[in-house]
């Protein structure tokens, strides 16, 4: 099928869009620093090295198959006709970006944005599986994520797929809305992280015989907090570019997007700091950092649609959510997730998706196509719920099965004895800080 192409983009929009997309590597750097800072000293170099490899593999895999299967509204796609309604389920483009003129058209800008944002999605599992995931397995798992899972779901949301068409086909508001990628990037990455945490199991020494978790604090809080600042800049670029390309807003409206992104992150970090101060007597830096990122994650879906006060509220809820769920998952579900990626990206992403349905009022103001308020309010929440159901009912089992199969072919976990000496020595042959003496209590968790 080849639906009607969206209107050509004005040059000023192209220029703004390219500028915003080029901010995105800062989000990659931020997430890589956060993951590294939250892992232990013995795996710091491995974490940064794996981050680079994962971003590279994600870009190549997306270049090979990803954009062909994701597509963009106006490009050809595979469709099913069910009871007279068309369901676009997969892009039908050519592999290796053939047929996509890299000339500043909407499709080419979307391809550029996705080549970077798929790396962001791929960095999320890396934080959750830190210190015990083989480098080779990271790369292969990332290829599956970036080459198959991500583009299929992203087609449904951003490529003119059936989730985006829920409004036109079934009267569910304006269809599934996600301007900046709370679902396509964050929740997909977060659910993949959950699969890997399950498949790899906890780090050695994390749980005692009674099943109680030990604290294995990260080795550099400064990296983590610096990463948060870099992530803010990158996220503003991601949300702004996504809003132009996938929500159709004018460049001037990206002011609202930036304000919403900042307010959401601010609300989240303040909520996390206040709650940890109340619970533990002092604010917790790593949980506050998790709150900050969770605020960014939750802001993405609704950044172009909700008013600033709603963005602040979304952030406050996100900060509270992450503060409680990180510890709860660790203690009650046995999830050893050093970066809190499942809480931050999966739960934060799902909250962001649902929040679009809770605060739909500014959609009519921003969208460049006609929509009555009744049309928006009637089914928007339901469209968002269908999106969440798709993440839980399709993406999670699919990514789990892919990684389970990969684990059967190539064991993904570092062997126990090598895990004790650290991923740096085992995989890279040298530590991140060779001039530092390692204290014996670094190994006392064994």
């Amino acid at each position: 099928m080849s639906p009607q192409s969206p209107p050509a983009m004005p040059e000023v929009s192209q220029a703004f869009c390219i500028l915003f997309i080029l901010l995105l590597p800062l989000a990659l750097a931020g997430l890589a620093l956060i993951n590294t800072g939250l892992s232990r000293l013995r795996s710091a170099a491995h974490s940064m090295m794996a981050s680079l490899c994962v971003v590279g593999v994600a870009a190549v895999a997306y270049f090979v198959t990803g954009f062909a299967w994701q597509g963009y509204p106006g490009l050809s796609s595979h469709t099913l006709t069910i009871f007279g309604k068309e369901w676009s389920w997969l892009g039908a483009g050519h592999f290796f970006l053939r047929g996509v003129p890299l000339d500043g058209s909407r499709a080419s800008l979307a391809a550029l944005l996705q080549l970077l944002s798929v790396g962001l999605a791929a960095l999320i599992p890396l934080g959750a599986a830190a210190e015990r995931w083989r480098l080779r397995a990271c790369c292969l798992s990332t290829a599956l994520l970036a080459g198959i899972t991500y583009p299929v779901f992203a087609h449904w949301v951003w490529g003119g797929g059936w989730l985006a068409g829920l409004g036109a086909n079934y009267g569910l508001g304006l269809g599934f809305l996600d301007a900046g990628g709370s679902s396509t990037i964050q929740a997909v990455g977060g659910l993949t992280a959950l699969s890997l945490v399950w498949l790899l199991g906890p780090r050695r020494g994390k749980y005692n015989l009674e099943g109680m978790p030990a604290a294995l604090p990260g080795h550099n809080t400064v990296y983590v907090l610096l990463g948060c600042v870099l992530a803010l800049v990158g996220w503003m670029g991601l949300n702004a570019a996504g809003s132009i390309l996938f929500a159709g807003i004018a460049p001037g409206r990206t002011v609202l997007v930036a304000v919403n992104t900042l307010l959401s992150a601010s609300g989240a970090v303040l909520a996390a700091a206040a709650i940890t101060r109340y619970r533990f007597g002092k604010p917790d830096a790593s949980l506050s950092a998790n709150g900050w990122v969770c605020g960014l994650v939750a802001s993405s879906a609704g950044c172009a649609y909700v008013p600033p006060a709603a963005a602040l509220l979304i952030g406050l809820v996100a900060g509270a959510l992450v503060t409680y769920t990180v510890a709860w998952m660790e203690v009650h579900l046995g999830l050893d997730d050093p970066a809190g990626a499942v809480s931050v990206h999966a739960l934060g992403g799902i909250w962001g998706i649902l929040a679009v349905g809770l605060f739909p009022r500014t959609v009519t103001v921003l969208l460049p196509y006609p929509a009555t308020p009744a049309m928006i309010q009637s089914g928007q929440m339901l469209a968002q719920v269908v999106g969440v159901a798709t993440l839980l009912g399709f993406v999670l089992p699919f990514t789990y099965t892919l990684n389970w199969l990969l684990n059967r072919l190539i064991p993904q976990r570092i062997p126990p004895e090598e895990e004790r000496q650290g991923a740096d020595l085992y995989e890279l042959g040298a530590g991140a800080y060779p001039e530092f003496m390692t204290h014996t209590d670094e190994f006392s968790q064994w």
Partner: protein
């Protein structure tokens, strides 16, 4: 338990899709979508419990 949980999640999703395609009445459609989501959550709980049991077994 793991395979059951893994199968229940797509089963719930299919209920959601079927409700969208087959049902026109708003209340019935919403109820079936909620039911599908409930089945998915049940599958998620089973999958989580299967991994918790495996972890305790390893300890």
């Amino acid at each position: 338990m793991k395979i059951t949980g893994l199968l229940m999640m797509p089963a719930g999703w299919i209920i959601v899709l079927a409700a969208l395609v087959l049902l026109r009445a708003v209340l019935a459609r919403n109820l079936f979508i909620a039911a599908g989501l409930g089945v998915e959550i049940l599958g998620l709980v089973l999958l989580t419990r299967s991994h918790l049991t495996a972890k305790r077994g390893n300890e």
